[in-house]
Symmetry: C2
């Protein structure tokens, strides 16, 4: 949009494209609700007032808010492509997301970031990115890529790269790891913010972390922690995801002096929650139900993140801003009835208008480098006792236990009677042939195997099962699909969810993914488990930063001792 | 300051330079007052807490606020050098200013901006600049320079150039003048804000002005005007200068939803007001006396402008911020008892600590290009009636009147009995020899002449007097001094104020300038005038954008008709 044309349109020198009359406009700058008409030209708001127009839309006294912004999201967690993610959340009123492509970058490196940038072009949603700061997340496993400062720096000039993403490596910050400090310095030199991720950090460690120029955190779980971080200049992202839900706990932090330093985010939100509850609209509704002023809740969803990320053309209904807006009727129970993106009606009554989403023609190269022939899950028995990963119900931490090994023909095998199942992590990025093998208790699976190529943060293939043959079938099918989730019984695939995009994301609509996921869980239920979301639990068993005992492609990892340990014990 | 060293100090790995104990810290992020200790290392805050320290300063439960920021000031209006300006305001708690070198740029062009950048290095005050957007201010006079977009663009890369200054040329914006639009686009492309200056602009014109990306205004005079601009996304600078005082009128605009979008500024503040009332501290005190919460008043003076201008290291007491702070005892009547800049004590008990101000060795080339021999104020009588500029008491607007000319020997001369005095504007930049000549009523001067090289915005030499000889003596003395103000009686200089820096600023301390100015006004008082500040009034008589009749070096200018007009009328 040419600036001169924009000014001329705002001045009323020619008819605007559309005049939205009789709106009750949420003014996020003044905190008022203003009755008036909204003029849109060339995809931008050009004025509030009476303008000659090509087309008039009578909003009949309904409310209009700026489009909502998710200030921090991993699109990969929705397990669908960027365009299908957009399709799912735009109809909820989310017109902008700031995504952190941490997962795909762990699989594919810069090619993953490039893919996300391409796949997010020409959508009815503005997609910005923070650069994944911690790839790989750890050195205890084989990831798909190592992104040092030299790899990240060229991206900082991109106008849709708006900062450095969550700096989980807080020891790297406070102990001044060269690469970590360089990434931070490069980002700040580009006048872009550095996001934090520092659960529970306090005292001098938190002083050091903020002194580094890290200005945001989305990991607070208590008002006390949130206030400590706010006082040091961090802005607060209040997260309401699928796994981590912090909204109600943190609402007491929001007051007249702090509200301008708060944003909403979803971080990781699974397909079912998006389909059933919603997205940022759900957070806004919940906040209002819990006593937050509706206009404040909308400011937190719009002008605040726009200001934090320097997105001058977003987050408000005012001349010169992109015409992203949400129309709704009930201020106390905000639900998007119409959503406009760059002035176009893109969703109505909860449905995206079909023609506006691009076909998603951007292809993603395969991220599956493993030879099926090399897979061997056999574990020769060396001692009588083995370490066993013990699930803790409804948590992603595990405990460490020691059990008698069940041995058959000189090999340790699963013991379904004791609920001790074989688990393996198959390296899929470098073709190393690495397979970590161990045992896990708590799944309750009595027959068959389940596997997935989603396994934080390196996303190798993880599989658990009652016998090697079913485990192998499950993994082979994932390799054939170029990624996905599988359930296998008696060497037959009983359910599958293809995730061909980096082994993390489907190309199907979010609702399809959600239905496929439901079908998968049902299939696993038949196999005997009562774990509510077995694939989610499975996906965290290879993450060697969450206590207590985990499995990487290089073997069992004792998180407390921070070292690999042997399967067999005396 | 090395980032790694900063982090290590914040982590407490070595003693900090100084620990300020027992402080009541104004936390501008959370809006709280926090009792604690403040650790400073290498000129930066590194932590709140208990730190081993080289030195400890017990603040004995006094309050500590971040150093105050003047968000928009013309240092030239204080008529003293940058370093002397700093000396005067730092002891008031102002540790940062965002200056617009509009006046010196009108005289010297880019050399004036370069001079201000150099002269503001190594001061106990952070001096940032917005680029003067309107040089020359008008085309109806001869200014010292024309600054087009090509001249301004290279400055945008300078880290102390933080935006484009007040865009007074609002017709140029809304009618899309190429150069004006280019300046705006260049600035926005550098991710720096564009400041506005649009008194009274409303409706579609204001929509067009804000659509151009102009995000701040300091010219509001009523709450209604301020709210209209706030609603369109402009941030509000509330000004309390010497001429324009808007603080009390605009306080009603500040509420919990708008406060984060407000800043304080002085714009133009004369030496007397700074010496007697203060600077930003005066605005804070006055705001509090008029009901604004003290912490809000401090936020408006600190974190708000820091955020607007992207000055990430300023405006707060938090790790990683520059250690600029103000110590005071009474929260309801804030007066700086100690001021620290980058961790150094720079002022105590209202006095700057002498050693910290640089000697101001930066020299400014002469800005006086006029040959004394060419000056001739004679006006041959052509008709019987003349247009006369009529002063309006206590305002800078004028009226237009027609009087009989007093003629002697074929020349029109001053008529002191009717209080009609000759006035002239002598072009001083290009050596054109241009002299505009006319008559003015309202000064009440009975003998002698007064003159000055401060005459907005082109700053040619302006002189008014009872006879040509005294006028000539007054102007010649200004030329000899390379600029200044003079009062002359019977061909003798009775008072003078040298302004050798661009003809606008003294090299003397602010208090000296103020005493010299008092002496000048007394000298003019003896000449018969009762105008309170005759040099201030004189300095606006050449400004051809303020109605009704003005005089430039090219002759009389009718502002309402926007054209030059003849002295003589039928």
């Amino acid at each position: 949009m040419n600036l001169k044309e924009l000014i001329a349109a705002a001045k009323g020198e020619q008819p605007v494209d559309c005049l939205f009359t009789n709106a009750r406009i949420i003014n996020v700058f003044s905190g008022e609700i203003i009755s008036g008409h909204i003029a849109v030209f060339g995809g931008y708001f050009v004025g509030i007032g009476d303008y000659p127009a090509q087309e008039t839309v009578d909003l009949k006294n309904r409310y209009v808010a700026p489009g909502f912004i998710d200030a921090h999201v991993h699109i990969e967690s929705a397990m669908t492509s960027v365009s299908e993610f957009a399709r799912a959340v735009v109809c909820r009123g989310t017109t902008t997301v700031v995504a952190d492509p941490h997962e795909i970058a762990n699989v594919m490196g810069t090619a993953g970031i490039d893919y996300m940038l391409q796949a997010s072009e020409n959508l009815p949603m503005n997609v910005f990115f923070t650069l994944p700061s911690c790839v790989p997340a750890t050195n205890m496993e084989t990831a798909g890529a190592v992104l040092g400062p030299d790899a990240l720096k060229p991206f900082l000039d991109h106008d849709r790269i708006v900062g450095l993403g969550e700096m989980m490596n807080f020891p790297g910050v406070i102990f001044r790891d060269d690469a970590v400090i360089q990434k931070i310095k490069d980002t700040l030199a580009h006048q872009k913010p550095v996001d934090g991720h520092a659960p529970g950090l306090t005292g001098k460690d938190l002083n050091a972390y903020t002194a580094a120029g890290i200005t945001r955190d989305h990991e607070c779980t208590t008002p006390d922690e949130a206030m400590k971080k706010l006082r040091l200049g961090m802005q607060l992202m209040i997260r309401e995801g699928t796994g981590a839900k912090n909204l109600k706990d943190l609402l007491p932090v929001i007051n007249e002096k702090t509200a301008s330093r708060v944003m909403w985010c979803t971080d990781d939100r699974h397909p079912g929650d998006i389909c059933e509850q919603g997205h940022i609209d759900f957070i806004i509704r919940t906040a209002i139900q819990n006593g937050i002023d509706p206009i404040t809740a909308i400011q937190i969803a719009t002008v605040n993140p726009a200001r934090y990320f320097g997105l001058a053309q977003l987050g408000a209904i005012a001349p010169g801003k992109r015409a992203d807006m949400v129309v709704f009727s009930d201020l106390q129970n905000i639900a998007a009835e119409q959503v406009y993106s760059s002035g176009r009606l893109v969703a109505a009554d909860g449905k995206l208008i079909e023609t506006v989403v691009s076909s998603g023609s951007v292809s993603c190269p395969s991220a599956m480098n493993v030879k099926p022939d090399s897979i061997d899950f056999a574990i020769p028995a060396k001692k009588e006792k083995i370490r066993v990963i013990e699930l803790v119900p409804e948590q992603i931490i595990t405990r460490q236990a020691v059990h008698e090994a069940k041995v058959e023909n000189g090999f340790v095998i699963s013991d379904t009677s004791a609920d001790i199942l074989k688990i393996a992590v198959v390296e899929r990025h470098k073709g190393t042939g690495n397979i970590g093998k161990a045992f896990v208790s708590g799944f309750g699976i009595k027959k068959g195997a389940i596997a997935g190529s989603v396994a934080h943060d390196s996303h190798n293939i993880i599989v658990v099962g009652t016998c090697d043959e079913d485990m192998k079938t499950a993994v082979e099918r994932i390799i054939e699909m170029n990624g996905g989730l599988t359930a296998v019984c008696d060497r037959k695939v009983t359910a599958e969810l293809p995730l061909p995009i980096a082994g993390l994301m489907s190309a199907a609509p979010l609702e399809t993914v959600r239905n496929q996921m439901d079908a998968m869980i049902n299939a696993v239920r038949v196999m005997g488990t009562s774990v509510p979301d077995p694939f989610m639990i499975l996906s965290f068993l290879a993450l060697p930063v969450i206590p207590e005992l985990k499995l990487t492609d290089r073997g069992l990892f004792d998180v407390n001792q921070f070292t690999h340990v042997s399967l067999f014990v005396d």
